[in-house]
Symmetry: C2
Subunit: 457 residues, 2 copies
């Protein structure tokens, strides 16, 4: 048992308790009633960084939720790693589907079950504890900075400005983030691409009040019928998005890279079985991995209108609503796409209704070249712990702030994810295997070691 | 001031208080938590009929909500009028749109504001009080029976069977109902046609759990996207319903009758202004009055799925739901239509999802010939009170039980409605003008008078 393994073994229960304390704070950033919880989480992180060995830690105000910053500078001549994570989590509805309460972590079947167990409380906690390990065992080879924000799940609307204002303080050689997944527990992966995002709420108004569907049905446009037709028109029979100009800036991926992607282990039958679907769906001409990795998507995330209670109420409703999102790929500008959607959606509205479109959030896609020394340091760290060289992987998810870091701070990010697909992030019964939690804490110090060595060369 | 007017004037405040007592019982039949309120309403009606002059009144159990029956038999040789009404009301959501609490009646601007003020507590109360008036002034010329049910708003699922079982008790020459509207307060109308109804709930299931829209978006069918496309396909660009065979049994209305209908006063501009819509919508080739009067409709009454809370949650939901209804016209069989929809909707579902269709309720359309003596008695009664001969009118609404009465009891129904379109039935801020309430009580005894006279001939 080496030094790292020994330290983890001796402190594993305390690590878990520190994570549980963080999980118990219901820091849902999209619900304004949880604002006080965001401050509790920020203070929790401040204490956590100090007790883990930071020289200094501080809660910063922003125009939205607070950011916790902490650092340990061992030698200005050494390389600096900036760790990014987020303390906020997704909403937990539908509550009735959770097997244990979302904010009361429970260990079952070797996994931690709770909202945030993986995304991103579990994964960011690994960095705090790996940092503690290096400090307490006198093996820290780099300067370390932590930046933990509270608005990632709502698109990090204030972090870009905060980075801008604190550029000097945030100076670093690389940004290190664990907020992504590995393909399988025995197959480590480093995410080299992230999709961008655009997200809108639409409101369709027909008559100025709910109407009797008998007296008016057939003569007055029903906003739900109309909204359905409008949504239906947004994609064609080939799964293409019909917004004019939508694909203009999409970076087409070379045949060579697509051939490499095709080597990623993927079993369509188990994929379908795991989701209990008879057939997958998507853009014609692309594989499932390509559909989420290199192609944009169009999903209605929520829809509502009219009577949704028990039984049968006959009503021709006044309004219908939807939350609509599109995942974007490298080179698509989320602001341009947001405007494109807005004007296109307005343009296909019939004169029988009024349509309002409100952009809710967005972010750029991101790509990380595998030639970066920091990427190679991460590769070696995984190889040591997992016994296998990790595959580079393009994720379908979005961490909009990653491309902002590149634009504002000029620093590339390494996405060392330890999550698994089965972790059900954003869903009921989110979970995180204990093994991944501890292996993460074991892998991260090796990244620091190799990154420091490579930087000395 | 004649006898009728004098009695109303002397008792008008008490009449109103008796109505208010009924309104205060939140008898929402579609919500099972209100079951006890249905029994309270049934007992209230029993007391009301007894205190109004019935020989006998009784609350009958059914497989669903109770029915209150009461009668006064003055002479078996005289004609018998069977009054039908309903004590149940529609749900009240969205509550925040009500200017005063729905079950706390308030008088403002000469109107009663409350759920059920018109539909059908206000309109059925007129019959109880007109009955009292005739009893107390010794002018009752017919035998009278009352049948007040508690499931009209959910399609009267048990009343047909109850009628079947009580055929002898319910024997009558005509059924009299006030549950419809007049075109304008100065233009009385008698409803001669009612649309039928079919109503379904549909459930579309994609993946077996809510998914991260980044990890899966673009590769797995989104049930909201799919449901929208399915709903969109149900009507074409001409406003025709696309279910194969849907129009096969529709009774096409003659050019002559359509020419007559075209004479009904109707101002498209004020119609659009009242609803705050720029354009009406509907089946090509038919006027607005025809679209609701003689043509079937297809309306989504409710839709829901995914994240519908505050802010932006990115999710690819597991399920999407809709409540869908179709208003039917004479000669269409609601059961055949229900099956047609069910199999068609299933047939257009892609293999990427599972679709369940549950019929929730339905009823046949109805037509009343204007040659009936009872129709002519109603005409004369309105003429006396309103100074104008009423127009026959085809209503877009449904009272499914009316056609059941004809099938089971073999009795035609006269629909003497006193509601107005502005009464906002089924909507927030339902109301009923005091003037219509009192004029109704004044008109009904005249119907009995003329009907008795005509029956003697």
């Amino acid at each position: 048992m080496n030094l790292i393994e020994k330290y983890i073994e001796e402190n594993k229960d305390r690590f878990l308790n520190e994570l549980f304390g963080l999980i118990r704070i219901p820091s849902i950033s999209s619900v304004s009633a949880h604002k006080p919880d965001m401050y509790r989480a920020a203070e929790y992180w401040k204490e956590l960084l100090m007790s883990s060995g930071a020289d200094h830690a501080e809660v910063f105000e922003t125009d939205g939720n607070p950011v916790t910053y902490g650092e340990k500078i061992i030698d200005p001549a050494k390389p600096t790693v900036l760790v990014y994570g987020h303390m906020d989590v997704m909403p937990v509805e539908p509550l009735e589907l959770w097997k244990s309460p979302p904010f009361e972590p429970e260990i079952r079947d070797g996994k931690i079950w709770a909202r945030g167990a993986d995304d991103d409380k579990g994964q960011s906690m690994m960095h705090a504890k790996a940092f503690e390990l290096m400090v307490k065992t006198n093996t820290l080879p780099c300067n370390v900075k932590f930046m933990i924000e509270g608005e990632e799940e709502i698109g990090s609307p204030n972090l870009g400005k905060w980075c801008e204002e604190n550029k000097e303080m945030l100076k670093a050689d690389v940004i290190l983030v664990s907020d992504t997944t590995m393909i399988r527990p025995d197959l480590p992966t480093i995410t080299t691409g992230l999709r961008g995002l655009a997200y809108w709420q639409v409101e369709v108004t027909g008559p100025n009040r709910d109407l009797h569907s008998g007296m008016f049905g057939g003569a007055v446009a029903n906003p739900i019928n109309v909204l359905s037709k409008m949504i239906a028109q947004m994609t064609d029979d080939n799964g293409h998005i019909t917004i004019p100009g939508f694909y203009d800036d999409v970076l087409e991926v070379s045949a060579e890279e697509r051939a490499l992607m095709a080597k990623t282990p993927f079993d369509l039958d188990s994929y379908k079985k795991a989701l209990d679907i008879e057939e997958v769906a998507g853009e014609a001409g692309y594989s499932t991995i390509e559909r989420t990795g290199i192609r944009p998507s169009f999903d209605v995330c929520g829809i509502w209108g009219g009577y949704t209670g028990e039984g049968a109420k006959t009503v021709l409703p006044s309004k219908a609503f939807a939350k609509i999102s599109s995942r974007l790929v490298p080179n698509q500008n989320h602001e341009a796409i947001a405007e494109m959607f807005q004007s296109h959606f307005q343009s296909i509205a019939p004169k029988t209704v009024k349509v309002e479109v409100t952009p809710l959030h967005g972010g750029q896609a991101y790509a990380c070249p595998i030639e970066l020394p920091a990427y190679q340091a991460a590769e070696k760290a995984y190889l040591d712990v997992y016994g296998r060289r990790p595959l580079p992987n393009r994720s379908g998810g979005s961490i909009p702030i990653i491309s902002t870091f590149e634009q504002v701070l000029g620093i590339k990010t390494i996405l060392m994810g330890f999550g698994l697909e089965a972790d059900a992030i954003h869903s009921p019964n989110e979970n995180y295997p204990l093994e991944q939690f501890y292996k993460g804490i074991q892998t991260i110090p090796l990244f620091y070691k190799y990154f420091a060595e490579m930087s000395e060369v």
